[in-house]
C-alpha cells in the first residue's frame, strides 16, 4: 500500500475499520494485570496506513510511540502479539524483557519506543538518514507525545533531520494530561527549522491520510522532514475514537452497515481468539533474564545467581574453574 494516493480507497477504509475494531476490542478486553490502559486515536491508524508497508525489511519505518496499538496494527502487527507483549508473556516479541506498548520488528517496519519523549525523533532521523544515503524510496514516521517538543532531545533530532533533509515525518499528539508549562506552537517551531508543518484536528480522514501521503512524497523526494501537530479533540476527551471513523465511512466512503457489521464480527472473533489463546501462553522464563546483553557473549561476572565461589585451595588443583562462571 503506497502513500501516493491522495484519498483513502474503499478497501483501505475497510482495513482501517477492521483495525479500529481490533484496537477497540483490545482496549475493551480485560487488560492484563499491571498493563496501562490505552485509548486508540483512530487518526494514528489512518496516518500510519498512508506509509508504505512491507514485511521484507524494505518498507517504511514507523515508531508508534504511545499511540500504539493503532499504528502497530496498521503496520501489520497482530492483536495476539500485542497482548503477549502487554501481558509480559514469554512468547512476547521482546521476550517480556522490555515494556511499553510497542516493540521492534524491523522487517515489518516497526520500531519500539524507549527513553524520554524526543528520543525516537533522533533515532528515526538517523534511520531516515540511512534511507537517503542509500537513495532508497523509504521514509520514517514517528509518533511522539506533544511534550516531546519540551525536550532538548527532540530539538536536536529535529535540527539534525532538517539539516540533512532526512525523509522523516514527525506526528506530535498535542494532548496534555496535566498542567505542565512549556510553549512552542508546532507551526512556528517547524519554521525555526525550515521544515514543512501541518496541523490536524478532526478534519476529514482523507485529509489526514493525504497529509501524511504528501509528507511522505516530499520526504522521499529529498525535500526534508514534515512536522504534523495532532490537536486534541477536546478538553476531557483527547482522542478521536473509532466510532467517528465508522460514521464517516458510512456517510462518505460508501461502506454499508452490513459490511461494517461483518468486519466488526471478524475483528471481534479474532481478538477473542487472541485473548483465549493468551491465557495459555507461558510466562517468561527467568533464565531469559540472563541472556547476554551483548551481541557476542559477554560472560556474567562470577557468582551472579549460582553457587558461591569456591576458591582453589578448597578444590585442590583447579582454582579458577571450580565454579560456574556463567
Amino acid at each position: 500500500m503506497h502513500g501516493d494516493v491522495a484519498a483513502l480507497s474503499r478497501d483501505v477504509v475497510q482495513d482501517l475499520i477492521y483495525q479500529g475494531f481490533q484496537a477497540r476490542f483490545l482496549e475493551g478486553g480485560a487488560a492484563p494485570p499491571g498493563a496501562a490502559p490505552f485509548r486508540v486515536d483512530i487518526r494514528g491508524v489512518v496516518m500510519a496506513r498512508a506509509m508504505r508497508h512491507s514485511s521484507d525489511g524494505k518498507g517504511d519505518l514507523c515508531c508508534p510511540g504511545h499511540l500504539a496499538p493503532g499504528p502497530l496494527l496498521g503496520f501489520g502487527a497482530t492483536p495476539l502479539e500485542f497482548l503477549r507483549h502487554l501481558g509480559r508473556k514469554g512468547t512476547a516479541p521482546a521476550a517480556a524483557r522490555s515494556g511499553g506498548s510497542s516493540w521492534t520488528d524491523l522487517r515489518r517496519g516497526l520500531i519500539g519506543w524507549d527513553g524520554p519523549p524526543g528520543t525516537m525523533t533522533q533515532v528515526l532521523a538517523g534511520a531516515a538518514l540511512a534511507f537517503a544515503q542509500r537513495g532508497q524510496d523509504r521514509a520514517a514516521l514517528v509518533f511522539e507525545e506533544g511534550s516531546a517538543m519540551e525536550t532538548g532531545g527532540w530539538h536536536e533530532g529535529m535540527n539534525f533531520a532538517a539539516a540533512r533533509a532526512a525523509p522523516l515525518i514527525v506526528v506530535l499528539d498535542m494532548a496534555r494530561y496535566a498542567d505542565r508549562s512549556g510553549k512552542g506552537e508546532v507551526d512556528s517551531v517547524a519554521r525555526g527549522y525550515g521544515v514543512a508543518a501541518a496541523v490536524v484536528s478532526k478534519e476529514p480522514y482523507p485529509g489526514l491520510f493525504g497529509t501524511v501521503a504528501t509528507a511522505r512524497r516530499r520526504a522521499v523526494q529529498g525535500r526534508g522532514p514534515t512536522v504534523i501537530g495532532m490537536l486534541p479533540r477536546g478538553e476531557s476527551d483527547s482522542a478521536v475514537l473509532h466510532d467517528a471513523f465508522v460514521a464517516w465511512a458510512l456517510a462518505e466512503a460508501g461502506v454499508t452497515e452490513a459490511e461494517v457489521r461483518t468486519i466488526e464480527r471478524a475483528a471481534s472473533a479474532g481478538v477473542d481468539h487472541a485473548f483465549s489463546r493468551l491465557s495459555r501462553e507461558p510466562e517468561a522464563d527467568p533464565h531469559d533474564a540472563l541472556v547476554p546483553v551483548c551481541a557476542h557473549e559477554v560472560p556474567q561476572p562470577p557468582w551472579t545467581r549460582r553457587t558461591p565461589p569456591n576458591p582453589g585451595w578448597r578444590a585442590a588443583g583447579e582454582p579458577t574453574e571450580a565454579y560456574d562462571a556463567r
Partner: protein
C-alpha cells in the same frame, strides 16, 4: 489551619505513625515552612500533586512561585535550579522517576558538581525521586542511579531505608550547601512495615554517617535502601543457625562512611555487600578496595557481594524477581562466608 493541610504531611503533628512517603512529604513541607528560600520544581508536582502524590496540596498552600510545574526537560530545569541556587534559593527538584535524571547527567556532573571547585560558590540543591525495582516498571522506570554519580567529586548521594531516616536525611540534604542526589525506593513508599512514629521535634539526621541496623560479630553485611530490609530478613534466618550478622545501613553513599565499615569489619573479619543495583561497577567495588586499603589484615575471607545481575531491569515479573537479589541469595552468601 491543620484542617487545610494535605493529609500526607499531618501524621507526626497528629501523633500518628507515618509511611516512608509521608515522611518525605513532611520533610519537604516543614523545610518549606521553615525557610522561604526552599522551593520545589518538577513534572506534574503542582496541579497534579506528583506522580506518587508526594506533593499533593503543596501548590495550594505555597503558591505557584514555590511549587513549579516544569516542562519535560530534566536537563534544563536542573540547570535552572542551579541558577536559582546561585542566587541564594534552595531548590528541591523532583525527578518523576529517578531514571529520568539521565538527561541531567551533563549539567549535574559538569556544571553543578564542579561549581564550588570552579570558584562559583556552593550550590545547595537537592534532586530527589523514586528509584528501584520490584514494581514491574521495566528498564526505564526501575533503575537505581547512584553509580551514575558516585564517581563525581562534588556531589553527595543519600539513600535512606526507613521513614525516620528519610525525613531526617531529606531535611539535612535540603540544609546542606552541596548538591545532593536523594534516592527514595518506591518499594518503601507505602510499605506497611516502614510505617513508624517519627520524632515530633525537628528531626534531622546528619549526612555521611552509616547506621548499625543490627549488631553482630560473625559477619558484616553492608547495604542500603530496600536491601536493608532484605538483609535483615536474611540475618533473622541466619540467626536460627546462631550466625550473628551485623547489618550496616549506609544511608549516605557519598561520602561513604568508611570508618563505620572498617570498624565492623575489624570486629567480624567477614564482609558481604548487598546492593539492588547491577553488579559490574556497583558500589561494592569501592567498598572492597577501601577495606583493602584500611583493613586488609582483618579479613578472614574474601569480600563478596550479592547484587542484581548485569542486565537492564526486566519488564516481566518472573524475570524481574530473578534479576533482583533475594533474601535467599543473601542467606546463601552469608552462610558461605561464615563457613569460609
Amino acid at each position: 489551619m491543620p484542617a487545610e493541610l494535605p493529609s500526607q504531611v499531618t501524621r507526626t503533628r497528629e501523633g500518628r505513625p507515618a509511611t516512608f512517603l509521608e515522611a518525605i512529604a513532611e520533610a519537604l513541607w516543614e523545610e518549606m515552612e521553615r525557610d522561604s528560600s526552599v522551593f520545589l520544581m518538577g513534572e506534574d508536582i503542582g496541579a497534579y500533586g506528583g506522580a506518587f502524590k508526594v506533593t499533593r496540596g503543596f501548590l495550594e498552600h505555597f503558591g505557584q512561585s514555590r511549587v513549579i510545574d516544569t516542562p519535560i526537560s530534566e536537563g534544563g530545569f536542573t540547570g535552572a535550579a542551579a541558577g536559582a541556587a546561585h542566587m541564594g534559593l534552595r531548590p528541591v527538584v523532583e525527578m518523576q522517576f529517578m531514571d529520568f535524571i539521565s538527561p541531567a547527567y551533563d549539567v549535574l556532573t559538569n556544571y553543578i558538581a564542579t561549581s564550588l571547585y570552579r570558584g562559583a560558590g556552593p550550590l545547595p540543591m537537592v534532586v530527589r525521586g523514586p528509584v528501584g525495582g520490584g514494581k514491574r516498571g521495566g528498564p526505564f522506570h526501575s533503575q537505581n542511579v547512584e553509580m551514575a554519580f558516585f564517581h563525581t567529586p562534588g556531589l553527595k548521594i543519600v539513600y535512606p531505608s526507613t521513614a525516620a531516616d528519610a525525613k531526617g536525611l531529606l531535611k539535612s540534604a535540603i540544609r546542606d550547601d552541596n548538591p545532593v542526589i536523594f534516592e527514595e525506593h518506591k518499594g518503601l513508599y507505602r510499605a506497611p512495615h516502614c510505617r513508624e512514629m517519627l520524632p515530633a521535634d525537628d528531626h534531622v539526621v546528619p549526612l555521611g554517617r552509616a547506621r548499625v541496623a543490627m549488631e553482630g560479630d560473625d559477619i558484616t553485611i553492608v547495604t542500603y535502601g530496600l536491601m536493608v530490609h532484605r538483609s535483615l530478613e536474611a540475618a533473622a534466618e541466619l540467626a536460627r543457625d546462631r550466625i550473628r550478622v551485623e547489618v550496616i545501613d549506609l544511608r549516605t553513599l557519598l561520602p561513604l562512611d568508611e570508618d563505620a565499615i572498617v570498624a565492623s569489619v575489624q570486629k567480624t573479619g567477614k564482609l558481604l555487600i548487598v546492593h539492588e543495583d547491577t553488579r559490574t561497577g556497583g558500589i561494592a567495588g569501592e567498598i572492597a578496595i577501601r577495606i583493602n586499603e584500611r583493613a586488609f589484615e582483618w579479613l578472614d575471607g574474601p569480600i563478596l557481594r550479592v547484587t542484581a545481575i548485569d542486565s537492564p531491569v526486566p519488564f516481566s515479573g518472573e524475570l524481574e524477581d530473578y534479576f533482583l537479589p533475594s533474601v535467599a541469595d543473601v542467606v546463601t552468601a552469608g552462610r558461605y562466608l561464615v563457613n569460609y
